[in-house]
């Protein structure tokens, strides 16, 4: 029975993957001419024979890795055997594991960055959205020379409205508008959407540049989003009479 590893060995080829480096490719024209002569006919025969054997093996029986990948002189390979790795954790590594066990698993991503990325995202292109945000944050860093994530957190906190208004049905003729408090996520969402609106009015064709400029204007307190925020607060204050305090 011919095995995959045996085939590659017989053909003098490193592996059977994409990157097969055939000895043919290393030859000069003169050598190729000689190679093509009848002396090397047996080499071609070996190729054809090997391919036929492999094809027969794969067609006759279902693919069983244990059998096909077995080393020479052994019927089946032990797929669970890891002894060949010969690896044991060191004492230091064991201590590190013990130390880390008590700690909570850290979050993979910053929730704020994740949220903003999702707000930018269009058609499910999350990586692209993240690239836009990352470039914008890099430009913010270049201007301000501070951690841009913290700056973004701060500017969303300052821009986000504290409360909004909601129309409630009373069951009578008239509906009433009631002020409602907003959660942190809702505040961040509104603030970042205002930033996106502001960025759309800017000149650059590059979205990351427009976004960076708008974030910087929020940090400097010049963004048009602050007017929207105060308008929302005024609206809520107007309807404060409808607040239901339990």
């Amino acid at each position: 029975m011919l095995r995959v590893s045996n085939l590659s060995r017989r053909l003098g080829v490193g592996s059977l993957g994409r990157f097969v480096t055939s000895p043919l490719l290393q030859k000069t024209p003169v050598q190729i001419f000689r190679f093509n002569s009848s002396q090397n006919k047996d080499v071609y025969d070996l190729w054809i024979q090997s391919i036929q054997e492999l094809r027969k093996e794969l067609n006759d029986k279902p693919w069983i890795p244990e059998v096909s990948l077995a080393p020479p002189g052994q019927a089946r390979a032990d797929m669970r055997d890891t002894s060949h790795l010969q690896w044991q954790p060191t004492q230091e590594q064991l201590e590190q594991i013990a130390e880390l066990k008590s700690k909570p698993i850290p979050l993979k991503n910053d929730p704020l960055i994740e949220h903003c990325t999702n707000l930018i995202m269009k058609d499910g292109l999350k990586y692209k959205a993240n690239q836009y945000l990352s470039k914008a944050l890099y430009l913010v860093f270049l201007q301000k020379r501070k951690d841009p994530v913290e700056l973004l957190r701060g500017c969303l906190d300052s821009l986000g409205p504290l409360c909004s208004t909601k129309t409630m049905k009373t069951g009578f003729a008239k509906n009433v508008t009631v002020p409602v408090p907003l959660s942190t996520r809702q505040r961040n969402r509104l603030a970042f959407k205002w930033i996106l609106e502001g960025s759309d009015k800017r000149a650059s064709k590059d979205f990351s540049v427009r976004l960076a400029e708008e974030i910087i204007s929020v940090i400097d307190g010049k963004s048009s989003g602050f007017e929207k925020r105060s308008l929302m607060h005024k609206q809520a204050a107007l309807h404060r009479a409808y607040l239901k305090l339990k």
């Binding site: 707000l119 270049l142 996106l196 759309d200 800017r202 000149a203």
Partner: protein
């Protein structure tokens, strides 16, 4: 309504101006159109003046495509440049070819990446910078952090140390264009580089080249994209400047083949075409970067003919001559940078003087793979065939020094490949990395060029190893440019291993993973 016009060709630009002549019938034009070559056989030094009989507006339309087809071969071949040319004020007194609403419409602009942004809506230009990310990050005046690093001095190179480019060379390197956009230089107070094994190897090559002629030092710097070939070349240039050597740097070979600049027939016997704008820029950069080293006495005379502006006819012709032994190369180039005429002869004169002198001279060419990738340039000859790159002055000059036809008494030639070009067998076969394939197509293998490039010695820039990544990361942490990690909590070694794994030792990817990766 008939329009009276005359046609003037000045320096490959066409001007129309009203003529006080009478109104001959439009049919007068047709013989001219049928026998046109005499109109366009112009000399590029002399303004060729031609008066056409006046013709009607409908005749302009007949004439225009013809004029354009005759002249565009001497214009940039890039489509957008052509468009600019056609719409520019070069055509005076005549309406533009395209005046439909479609041509006047604003180019469509992509709106933000927001969900609500619908379609391509025309919008008024708002406040803020109009540039894109790469230009904003590299050109805006930004708050720079301060750093105190050792200088890159050829005498004391220590491995794995992040260094500044020294004060005496950094200005010259800026002039030569050795620092590029997209290298993240803006993140630091000034350009920095790491002393690597490759730097030390190059320094040894430099020491040897300072005493031997340039045929002994012909180096091809190769390596994968983003591995630091341009930075290594900049390090070499900096070290050469520290030794008071002259550096002639061509920082982007694409400029010669991509059709982005003008070209015309050359006055020299050895080559066919010249590229005036590129030549002028190169001479300016070279002069600014090497002012201190150019006090080389001339061995030959050189003359600059007086160039008159259009309409200036009076006065005697006064040529300016620089004489051997009396003047220096500095005097010549100081005049050349303000000279309005053709500078091809000046460039060749400069090279002949540099070759004759005993001052070490280094010719460096970055993005050299532009030639192996596009040996047939975007320029076309009078038969509308694309032109092979060595028929242009500057590329042919570079090849002469690589081949060894010309040489500097002291110095060398260094070329560097670029990762942005497609890989091609020409350089690999010439450097012995690949075997010669007799049936390879011309696009994959240029036999003629490969034969020339065989003279080059291979200099490979490898990826960073773990220690080098460690010293770079330590510097980035000190500079405070890494924000996507909680740097106070991290174990440095595991952090370094992590970054080493993700960047696979590629400096550009390493910097990107530190600066453009907020998650």
């Amino acid at each position: 309504m008939s329009t009276e016009l005359s046609l003037v060709i000045v320096n490959r630009c066409i001007y129309f101006k009203p003529s006080p002549l009478g109104h001959p019938p439009a049919t007068c034009l047709y013989p001219i159109l049928r026998h046109p070559p005499s109109i366009f056989a112009y000399n590029y030094y002399v303004c060729h003046y031609l008066s056409l009989p006046s013709f009607t507006t409908s005749d302009q339309i007949l004439l225009f495509p013809y004029i354009i087809s005759c002249t565009t071969q001497y214009l940039p071949t890039n489509r957008s440049y052509r468009k600019v040319f056609l719409h520019s004020t070069m055509f005076r007194g005549i309406r533009a070819l395209h005046t439909s609403a479609a041509s006047l419409a604003e180019k469509k602009v992509s709106l933000s990446f927001r969900k609500e942004a619908k379609g391509f809506v025309k919008r008024s230009k708002g406040p803020g910078n109009h540039k894109n990310f790469i230009n904003v990050s590299s050109t805006t005046l930004l708050k720079k952090s301060e750093s105190h690093l050792p200088d890159l001095k050829p005498q004391n190179l220590t491995k794995n140390v992040v260094t500044n480019f020294p004060n005496d060379s950094v200005k010259a390197l800026h002039h030569l264009g050795s620092f590029r956009k997209g290298q993240f230089n803006e993140a630091f107070s000034r350009p920095v580089s790491l002393v690597r094994d490759a730097t030390i190897r190059l320094e040894k090559i430099l020491q040897k080249a300072l005493t031997t002629d340039s045929t002994n030092t012909r180096i091809a710097i190769i390596g994968e994209s983003g591995v630091g070939k341009t930075t290594t070349l900049a390090q070499f240039q900096s070290m050469a400047k520290s030794h008071k050597a002259i550096v002639f740097a061509i920082n982007n070979a694409d400029n010669f083949v991509d059709g982005s600049s003008d070209f015309g027939p050359s006055a020299l016997d050895t080559v066919e075409y010249r590229q005036p704008m590129v030549t002028r820029k190169l001479i300016k950069k070279f002069f600014k970067a090497n002012k201190d080293e150019l006090n080389i006495p001339l061995t030959e005379d050189i003359k600059f003919a007086t160039v008159k502006s259009f309409g200036e006819r009076k006065g005697k012709q006064q040529d300016l001559a620089f004489k051997a032994k009396e003047n220096t190369l500095f005097d010549v180039l100081n005049h050349a940078v303000h000279y309005r005429g053709d500078l091809s002869h000046c460039l060749h004169f400069t090279f002949s003087q540099l070759s004759a002198s005993n001052v070490p001279v280094f010719l460096t060419v970055d993005n050299f793979t532009a030639f192996t990738q596009n040996p047939i340039t975007a320029y076309r000859d009078t038969k509308n065939n694309r032109i092979y790159f060595d028929r242009f002055e500057i590329p042919s000059l570079i090849l002469r020094y690589i081949r060894g036809d010309d040489k500097f008494n002291k110095g060398g030639v260094l070329i560097s490949s670029s990762g942005k070009h497609k890989s091609n067998d020409t350089l690999s076969v010439a450097l012995g990395d690949k075997s010669y394939e007799p049936y390879a197509k011309f696009g994959d293998f240029d036999r003629k060029l490969a034969a020339t490039l065989q003279n080059l010695e291979k200099f490979e820039v490898p990826s960073l190893n773990k220690e080098e990544v460690g010293s770079l990361l330590q510097y980035y942490l000190d500079q405070g440019i890494i924000h996507n990690e909680k740097t106070d909590e991290i174990n440095f070694e595991s952090f370094r291993d992590n970054k080493f794994f993700y960047s696979s030792g590629n400096p550009r990817e390493l910097l990107k993973s530190c600066t453009l990766n907020y998650y």
